[in-house]
Symmetry: C2
Subunit: 341 residues, 2 copies
């Protein structure tokens, strides 16, 4: 039988000690980490970038099909993605968690193992945070801190007319993974049939264990690209592209046939009678980087197979439009995942 | 009738715009605030201090007697207190909130009004965060960022043998405020009798609207005091003093008759048949600064009436002891508020 240590027996400080004992500091800018009132970070000569996200059980994740280790990994990665989306390099995180007495120490250690795996993979330091009991459910709040050379950060508001719209990787797979897992959960609840995830490792993996595009930021630095605007794709391509347009005061033209889609995911979309384009536009949780560059950067962008050019920015009066495969023009609408509805 | 705007009608981005539209940036180090993937802070030549806390409805606060505006104020202040406890000056905060559909826009605006009041009072900028729906309850996570001149931060682990133990202000009142409000809530629930808070403004105020000791940090800078260790009193004097001793590898002697207590609060303690000393030792939520200084700083400390000298550090073998008014010696035990039990 698996061990189950009641957290009440450890007390808060015992729990923190237990959960943070294996943490190693990798960034020399980390002067003080876990275990004091605050963490201290030395950013002499650099600029600091910060981002914070809340992840709530029943809203952002379902523990019926989310392993705690994956959840820990993802909680970190989605925050780091925001730091990369500023063209910065993440260096530290703070982690707050709240949990009910349904969670044992072993469960929290699983979660922290995922957190540590992400910290290792992205070379960031966990430097502090807070643990608390919660009346109900698992509550996660992560704050990521990054650094950037002076004035090299990229905002959402710098795109110019005729700038190329680019996106990293492939879109829509995480939404399909979510759709599959939700379907299998319902089948399990009503019939007791175990999930059939055969051959769906890609889409499930994209949902449960996303990665942030550290490589793209590194490519920008290597090849001397400075995007004019950037955002990470968390709410869906259309919603996030509309953010860039609104904040940059531009319109846009987006080509349906240029939207990058994984073949395996595309086949699964057809199987579920879903439109792959709709999955990419409205699905979200891809954590790819959506950015714009000047046309003069065209050759540099083309040289990287992980980046697709999917359209261009226009005058704001031209509106935000999608050109379909059939050549029709549709206004882009934000149908991102609205968890407030 | 009061206006009630359903948040679902605004959408997440509409809500964020609504809640953050009045935010003004006061720190020149704030390069990018709310509205991008991350905030950008310029800390050239200074060190950055970070702290993050989770505040959960039903665990850390009870909305039956906590006005939302006070809650917003307190959520910020308790985090700033951690930054001051590092001898640093807070400059920015990030705020994540989760809330169920029981909260209207007006309710959230009340909360944000309190957040803004605290930001104004302590001259910090709200630079980002996340808003989300929650299945149940109000969830708050605040991350505070501060700056400190290189290597001027004060940790918990630097106290030496014979250092004086000092504390700002008065202790125990917040716990009495909590005891009073919990009692009045029970009376109201069972008999419908409205709360009798007559003459208890001080203790209720200390609980609902605490302040962080910015003035003490300023005094350190003015008078050239560099504490050897410091912590803020959030879990109760005994628990927090034991943290300093453990991390500094010292013992301590604490004098009961030196513990600062407000007269009004003391009288109320007797009325409730509570021991004022126990309230100070185990109550918590005082947000006073507990620190140690070398004996050579004695005159400088005595010159500030807001600071009490309450004991001294000893060799670790001597243990951590309380000398009672009657002259007896008791081992100090951490009976801080353990919300994991």
């Amino acid at each position: 039988m698996e061990q189950r240590t009641e957290i009440a027996n450890l007390g808060e400080f015992g729990l923190i000690e237990q959960l943070t004992k294996d943490i190693e500091i990798v960034n020399s800018s980390t002067l003080v980490g876990v275990g004091d009132d605050g963490a201290v970070i030395d950013h002499f000569g650099r600029q600091t970038v910060l981002s914070s996200d809340l992840l709530l059980e029943g809203i952002h994740f379902d523990l019926a099909y989310t392993p705690l280790k994956h959840l820990g990994y993802k909680s970190v990665v989605v925050n780091l993605s925001d730091i990369y989306a500023m063209n910065a390099t993440p260096t530290q995180i703070l982690l707050n968690i709240g949990f009910s007495n349904r969670f044992s120490l072993e469960a929290l250690e699983e979660f922290y193992a995922g957190v540590r795996a992400a910290c290792d993979a992205y070379e960031v330091d966990l430097v502090g945070g807070d643990t608390s009991s919660s009346g109900k459910g698992f509550i996660i709040s992560v704050t990521a801190i990054g650094e950037v050379a002076p004035d090299s950060y990229v905002r959402r508001n710098g795109a110019g007319v005729n700038d190329l719209i680019c996106v990293s990787g492939e879109l829509g797979a995480a939404f399909l993974g979510l759709t599959l897992l939700e379907r299998e959960k319902k089948i399990f609840e009503t019939t007791g049939t175990q999930p059939d995830l055969e051959g769906q490792a890609l889409i499930v993996g994209r949902l449960l264990k996303p990665e942030a595009r550290k490589d793209i930021i590194a490519y920008f630095a290597e090849s001397g690209i400075m995007p004019s605007s950037m955002i990470d794709v968390s709410d869906g391509l259309s919603s996030d592209l509309l953010h860039l347009c609104k904040q940059s005061s531009t319109g846009c033209v987006l080509y349906e046939d240029k939207i990058p889609f994984n073949e395996e995911a595309r086949e699964f979309a057809y199987k579920l009678k879903l439109d792959p384009t709709a999955c990419a536009l409205s699905g979200g949780e891809d954590y790819e980087l959506l950015f714009t560059v000047a046309q003069t950067d065209y050759e540099k962008i083309k040289a990287n197979p992980a980046i697709s050019i999917i359209g261009y920015m226009t005058e704001t009066d031209a509106g935000c439009n999608l050109i379909t495969r059939g050549g029709n023009t549709h206004a882009l609408v934000a149908q991102g995942w609205n968890h407030l509805k």
